[in-house]
């Protein structure tokens, strides 16, 4: 599914290397988690994969089903099946959430050569998905993320994911700013989307999200590299001992 090889990335504006050779392969249907201390490059990895401006890839590749994504525009990556659940979802005053969702769904269908979804079908689908995420009609009507609580914003991200049905979902600290109940709700939403053809890359600081979204593989990232990979037990180890031991091990 997602294959990242020797990825080197630096900031465009300053000569600062953030990713220093990331190697990562996420197989179809798998859930991988990335943990790591602040500043290790986790969020940069998610932004680079989704195509945000401001980063320069100096070496390495990233492919989705063997297709190079790094040369694509963000919208092309989305149509190819890549989805980033933002750590800080953006508020867009004046653009209704429904309009946004419908435009996104139909843009992707168009890009894939499919017919646009009819207004009726879309409405039915969005209501059904929203209900399971406890998103009410009012939240759908309001401008995108404007006045939403932290939990509502994250649920709105998962709703978009559910509507767009991507192949590869990257969750960037989706648990940040959520209370236990909200985290459960979000995790349930993610788990409902797990399937053989869909993979997840879950970026988090804390092990507790991984209690709800069970990963197949856990990676530890530090200083722009993946320094260790293992099973779910690796996350527990971090939770108990912090990163210091792991960092010392590598050094």
């Amino acid at each position: 599914m997602l294959e990242i090889k020797n990825l080197h990335v630096q900031l465009e504006e300053e000569d600062k290397q953030i990713l220093k050779g990331v190697d990562l392969t996420v197989g179809a249907g798998q859930v991988h988690a990335i943990m790591g201390p602040n500043g290790s490059g986790k969020s940069t990895l998610s932004y680079v994969l989704s195509g945000k401006d401001g980063y320069e890839v100096t070496d390495g590749t990233a492919t989705l089903d063997d297709v190079d994504v790094l040369d694509m525009d963000p919208e092309e990556r989305a149509a190819a099946g890549l989805f980033l659940a933002f750590q800080y979802p953006v508020e867009i005053p004046g653009v209704g959430n429904m309009t946004f969702l419908r435009t996104a769904v139909n843009s992707q269908r168009k890009a894939r050569g499919q017919d646009e979804m009819s207004a009726g079908d879309f409405l039915k689908l969005v209501r059904e998905k929203a209900k399971s995420l406890k998103i009410d009609a009012d939240m759908l009507k309001r401008p995108v993320n404007v006045g939403f609580s932290g939990g509502e914003k994250k649920r709105n991200e998962i709703l978009q994911m559910a509507m767009l049905e991507p192949k590869m979902c990257i969750l960037d600290e989706t648990d940040s700013g959520l209370d236990v109940d909200a985290m459960k709700l979000v995790a349930e939403g993610v788990n409902a989307l797990r399937s053989e053809g869909r993979s997840f890359l879950v970026i988090t600081h804390y092990q507790r999200l991984l209690d709800h979204i069970k990963p197949d593989v856990v990676h530890i990232m530090a200083n722009g590299r993946i320094i260790k990979s293992g099973g779910p037990e690796l996350a527990l180890e971090v939770e108990n001992n912090g990163y210091a031991d792991l960092l010392a091990e590598v050094a």
């Binding site: 989704s50 195509g51 945000k52 401006d53 525009d73 963000p74 919208e75 990556r77 989305a78 149509a79 989805f83 980033l84 933002f86 979802p89 953006v90 508020e91 867009i92 005053p93 004046g94 653009v95 309009t99 946004f100 435009t103 996104a104 769904v105 843009s107 992707q108 890009a111 401008p143 995108v144 978009q160 767009l164």
Partner: protein, 423 residues
């Protein structure tokens, strides 16, 4: 050539065969104009907009914009009054009659000895000449060739739609309309079209106690057209006034709106959305005077500018002594789609009462890159994402339109125009 010389070089003549009331009003207006002289760049009120092409003897040529789409407001049920290059088109117009309406052409009424419009024609314009000279408005009162005089005495459900067609490349039109909305009455006036290569328009509106006036205007998409428009409104107690203008294209547009709140508990909203490209120059000049207690006024102006286009906003709220409990609000914002475009704003508050709430703000900035990336990351192509954000930006001004059908019509048009430009 100085303004005075220019006036002498190309004196327009007062129309012939005027009745006593019109003759009086026109002669007085011409005297006002002579005293003021034509506007020049040294005038403070023309600091950001060069009036030369508005005062030149000949109107600069402007090709009419050709389009096969249905005219804006083409599907709205309305009483239509059509002018082509400033000349009344009887065939294309509806019969000038409607329930609760007395409606006539200025060209006809002006030849009568007496007409109800006598108490307003040039009168509100004259009031609006203090403290700032508006010579183009005085010229309009003096030389206007036609216009519509509308007297609403009831809640009129069907809007009056003035359609301004433009065909001749060098047409130079001067029209003057007068609207009187009686106590408790209500009227919606719609204007659409470029009118001429150069257009000087004046609209005087008297909104009586508890009356309501709604005004929605779209100024036509001819690239090279020029326009100087004026609205002079006087508001009575508990009256409502709302005016919205959409300006897309046009090489030079100056829209002035002068409102006087003379009765308590009245409300005036003026809004505009302007979208321009290249040599587009757009100027909204607003002057709202609060002269009564507990009145509300709102100014909401949005400009979307690209490829070196210029937007100007000069907005003033004057709160006279005694106009307590005034609630004044003013916002002017520009979205600059590139580094070449500019927005010049001069917000002014002048307050002589001590118990008022007035706020104003002005911003200009680029499109929100985070929002753009967010939309694109969901699969929305860049141009479409940009269009969505531009429409969202204009939304606050469009929300000022009272009639939802009219607002929806303009929004749909904008969407279509944007997506066509992008494709």
């Amino acid at each position: 050539m100085s303004a005075a010389e220019q006036l002498k070089a190309a004196p327009r003549s007062l129309p012939d065969g005027q009745g006593a009331w019109a003759q009086t009003a026109r002669t007085a207006a011409e005297a006002r104009l002579t005293a003021m002289g034509l506007p020049g760049r040294r005038d403070e009120y023309w600091k950001y907009t060069n009036p030369t092409t508005l005062t030149d003897v000949e109107a600069p040529a402007a090709e009419a914009f050709k389009s096969d789409e249905t005219p804006v407001f083409g599907d709205i049920d309305a009483l239509r009054v059509v002018f082509k290059d400033g000349v009344f088109d009887a065939e294309a117009s509806d019969e000038l009659a409607g329930e609760g309406l007395e409606i006539a052409r200025l060209a006809d009424a002006a030849t009568a000895d007496i007409h109800w419009a006598k108490d307003l024609y040039g009168v509100l314009e004259t009031n609006g000449q203090t403290p700032v000279d508006r010579p183009l408005a005085a010229a309009n009162t003096a030389y206007a060739t036609d216009g519509v005089l509308i007297h609403a005495s009831a809640k009129v459900s069907k809007p009056v739609l003035i359609v301004y067609l433009h065909e001749a490349a060098t047409s130079d039109a001067i029209l003057h309309h007068v609207v009187k909305v009686e106590e408790g009455a209500e009227l919606t006036l719609i204007e659409n079209g470029p009118a001429a290569a150069r257009f000087n328009n004046c609209l005087e509106v008297d909104v009586a106690d508890t009356a309501a006036f709604h005004h929605v205007r779209a100024q036509g998409r001819d690239h090279d057209r020029r326009a100087a428009t004026h609205i002079f409104a006087r508001l009575g107690t508990e009256s409502r006034f709302k005016s919205f203008t959409l300006t897309v294209n046009g090489v030079l547009t100056r829209n002035e709106c002068i409102i006087e709140l003379t009765g308590d508990d009245a409300a005036a909203h003026v809004a505009g959305a302007a979208v321009g490209d290249g040599d587009f120059h757009h100027d909204d000049t607003i002057f709202i005077t609060h002269d009564a207690v507990n009145c509300e006024s709102r100014q909401v102006f949005k400009n979307v500018l690209r490829n070196g286009a210029t937007g100007v906003f000069q907005g003033k709220i004057l709160v006279k002594a005694g106009a307590q409990k005034t609630d004044g609000y003013q916002i002017s914002q520009a979205l600059l789609l590139d580094g070449d475009s500019q927005f010049l704003a001069k917000p002014e508050l002048e307050i002589y009462a001590d118990d008022v709430a007035c706020s104003h703000g002005s911003t200009s900035g680029a499109i929100d890159e985070d929002a753009l990336f967010y939309l694109r990351s969901r699969g929305v192509p860049e141009t479409e994402a940009q269009n969505l954000l531009v429409l969202a930006f204009l939304g606050e001004a469009l929300e000022e339109i009272e009639n939802e059908d009219l607002a929806a019509e303009l929004l749909t048009r904008l969407e279509a125009w944007f997506s066509r430009r992008s494709s």
